[in-house]
């Protein structure tokens, strides 16, 4: 009888201990993510999710809090992006959502996140119109003005060009950045005699490029995506287009780009939020850790999209934890408050959000591909080398890379 009482007593004490420990340990965080894993934007979405997974894993290691990551493929389709957010917020009841690529997908998806009152931190949508509604749940790490300033600043201050031709994809983000760069250049006294919109899927760029030749443009600025750069570069090479510099908006000069285009990528310029080795000195250690972790996990170097994915997961998880405190009582209001109070240094620079959820301090970098490497040439305080100008991939040997700037 005594023995039985002792056993029952021990079991009760054990259950009490387990209950007490469980009650004081932070609850798992449910993080939702959506990005294109199939369809036209799959390449970017896959890299984004890789970064998000790494961010979640590193957070688990650092904090000891379990992260239940739920990922949905939005198939590069706005309707599917809305469904993904609705499922994550309404069915899976996640604490917050990260991901999203493309302004046309993120715009409607952000409305769904707002309806479900779920904090939503995105990284691949730069259209300024996305934040005009001042949704309380909307946050992003990068947006268009940071890219436009880097492009117009470099053309004006670094290259010293007088005539610029701008071709842009008709999608909203590229159209917006093209308009912004044009107005900044004309305000600075530069001429933009060719300013043409082209449709997604255009394969013959020669008729447009010939307009640049006739107008005597020195710089070709293409506000587009990977396929647009492939098409314009191939056709410009065939036409032996007499320009001095080729600048792309984003997604140009990445390791994939250089691998696929080889010599045709040489001397092209592009903007980015981050490239390996460009972190501010306060974040060098963090950058090295992310790059090493990414290489170990995926056997490849992270692209800027991978880094954005990583940072979105890290920032959001830190905010959820910060808002929930030691007890793990997470809530959207607490997470939003933590995000609004955030001010940290990261590999892509200082991160803080304004009242609309836009990044307060975001500035893009402009790099030039030189011998297969990305050399940051603008702004000067983050540059890792000098621009070779004039310089385009189709220049003959003796014309190549005139002056270092």
């Amino acid at each position: 009888m005594k023995m039985t009482r002792a056993i029952v007593g021990c079991v009760i004490v054990f259950i009490l201990i387990v209950w007490l420990v469980a009650a004081h340990a932070a609850a798992p965080i449910k993080l939702g993510a959506h990005a294109p894993q199939t369809g036209a934007l799959a390449k970017h979405g896959i890299e984004q999710i890789k970064g998000i997974r790494l961010g979640a894993e590193q957070f688990e290691k650092d904090s000891g809090i379990k992260v239940e990551l739920k990922v949905y493929d939005d198939e590069s389709d706005p309707q599917k992006a809305i469904s993904a957010v609705e499922k994550l917020a309404g069915v899976d009841h996640v604490n917050a959502i990260v991901g999203g690529y493309g302004s046309n997908l993120v715009g409607p998806a952000s409305e769904a996140a707002e309806r479900y009152d779920t904090p939503y931190l995105i990284t691949g949508a730069v259209d300024t119109k996305l934040s005009v509604k001042k949704f309380k749940n909307f946050f992003r790490l990068n947006y268009m003005p940071g890219y436009a300033a880097a492009q117009s600043g470099a053309i004006k201050d670094l290259l010293g060009a007088k005539k610029v031709g701008i071709l842009y994809n008709s999608l909203s983000a590229t159209a917006e950045i093209a308009e912004a760069v044009k107005s900044q250049l004309t305000a600075a006294g530069l001429a933009v005699p060719v300013f043409e919109k082209f449709e997604k899927g255009t394969t013959n760029f020669k008729p447009i490029l010939l307009k640049l030749r006739d107008a005597g443009c020195e710089v070709l600025l293409v506000e587009g995506y990977f396929p647009d750069y492939v098409g314009t570069l191939k056709d410009a090479k065939i036409l032996n287009l007499p320009i001095k510099a080729y600048i792309g908006a984003w997604g140009i000069g990445t390791p994939d780009f250089i691998r696929e285009l080889g010599p045709l990528s040489e001397f092209t310029y592009g903007t980015s939020v981050w490239e390996i080795g460009t972190a501010p000195k306060e974040a060098k250690e963090q950058e090295a850790a992310v790059v090493a972790g990414y290489k170990t996990k995926y056997n490849e170097e992270p692209s800027y999209i991978g880094m954005l994915g990583y940072l979105s997961a890290k920032v959001m998880l830190d905010a959820i934890k910060e808002g929930g405190g030691e007890s793990g009582a997470y809530g959207p209001e607490k997470t939003r408050k933590a995000l609004r109070e955030l001010d940290v240094m990261s590999p892509m620079g200082r991160i803080a959000f304004d009242e609309k959820g836009d990044p307060k301090y975001f500035v893009a970098i402009l790099f030039q591909t030189q011998k297969g490497n990305q050399v940051v040439v603008y702004p000067k305080d983050r540059s890792t080398g000098q621009a070779q100008y004039p310089g385009v991939p189709w220049m003959k040997g003796d014309e190549k890379a005139g002056v270092s700037r």
């Binding site: 199939t38 013959n204 020669k206 008729p207 006739d214 492939v230 696929e260 285009l261 045709l264």
Partner: protein, 290 residues
């Protein structure tokens, strides 16, 4: 001010692109003309050919021109299997079945490409093929010249195969009247299988060319299928040579629209032409029975 040289260059680039269009759509037009099947997986068969050429180039350094027979055989083989395993079973019940099935096949193949080659955009680039050749200030790349020649050879070869060979005759008879063809001793099921496989071969042949003049990616097939369908309607069912002329009209029209107006009107030209032909001449510019 647009220079005369630019107009001539633009015209030539449109002409070259138009001939490319005709090769891209040859397989779809052929299958539609013979079997009345709109093969929505046509673009994916083409992209498969492109990936085969890309693979051969990257792994063994095989020139994409030389890789074309392998690409064509792979896509043709895939079309053969698709017909034997799936299409043959459901063809007799409803025309809509083939549309749904080929759509499903296109989605399956596009996702298979992502698994095999990731979602990255692939460029089939060989330096000497990208080298420009200038004639009186008008430029064309070596690759574009090859593409032009191969496209024309493919179209004319198919035309002669259909008009001059016994098998071609059997295919044409089956297209006109299946029952009569069966009564005349033609194995119509075999003809269908052959026609669908040839459609795959033609698509696979175009894949490396698409990768050379533009790029390939898992999602690139859809745009090709749409363009091919537009061109098939423009040219009219049953006219392979008409396909080349319709391709040239479309390519040159698009290029000159960009030259004289704005690049954003390029697609508008194609769709306006498409609608006008549907209104004025519903059987297409050169439509007739095979």
């Amino acid at each position: 001010m647009i220079s005369l040289a630019s107009i001539a260059q633009s015209f030539l680039s449109g002409l070259a692109e138009g001939v490319d269009y005709s090769l891209y759509c040859l397989g779809l037009a052929f299958v539609f003309g013979i079997m009345r099947i709109i093969n929505l997986a046509h673009g994916e068969f083409l992209v498969l050919g492109g990936y085969v050429a890309y693979w051969l180039l990257v792994i063994w350094g095989v020139n994409p021109i030389l890789a074309m027979p392998v690409a064509a055989a792979t896509a043709g083989g895939t079309a053969f299997l698709s017909y034997r395993i799936f299409l043959q079973r459901i063809r007799t019940t409803s025309d809509l079945n083939t549309l749904i099935l080929t759509f499903g096949l296109s989605v399956f193949l596009a996702n298979l490409f992502i698994e095999c080659w990731t979602a990255d955009i692939r460029n089939i680039g060989v330096d000497w093929l990208e080298h420009p050749v200038a004639l009186y200030g008008i430029y064309m790349s070596v690759g574009e010249i090859f593409t032009l020649v191969i496209s024309l050879v493919a179209v004319f070869s198919l035309h002669f195969f259909l008009t001059r060979s016994k098998t071609g005759l059997a295919i044409r008879v089956t297209a006109i009247d299946r029952d009569a063809a069966g009564l005349a001793g033609i194995n119509v099921n075999r003809v269908d299988l052959m026609a669908f496989s040839i459609g795959g071969v033609l698509a696979g042949l175009s894949g490396p060319l698409l990768g050379m003049v533009s790029h390939i990616s898992p999602g690139a097939g859809l745009a090709v299928t749409i363009k091919a369908f537009i061109l098939t309607v423009l040219a009219g069912v049953g006219s392979l040579l008409g396909l080349v002329v319709a391709g040239m009209i479309l390519g040159v029209g698009e290029a000159l629209t960009v030259t004289f107006t704005n690049a954003s009107y390029r697609e508008l030209f194609g769709f306006t032409l498409f609608l006008m032909i549907l209104l004025i001449r519903p059987r297409g510019l050169f439509g007739k029975g095979l």
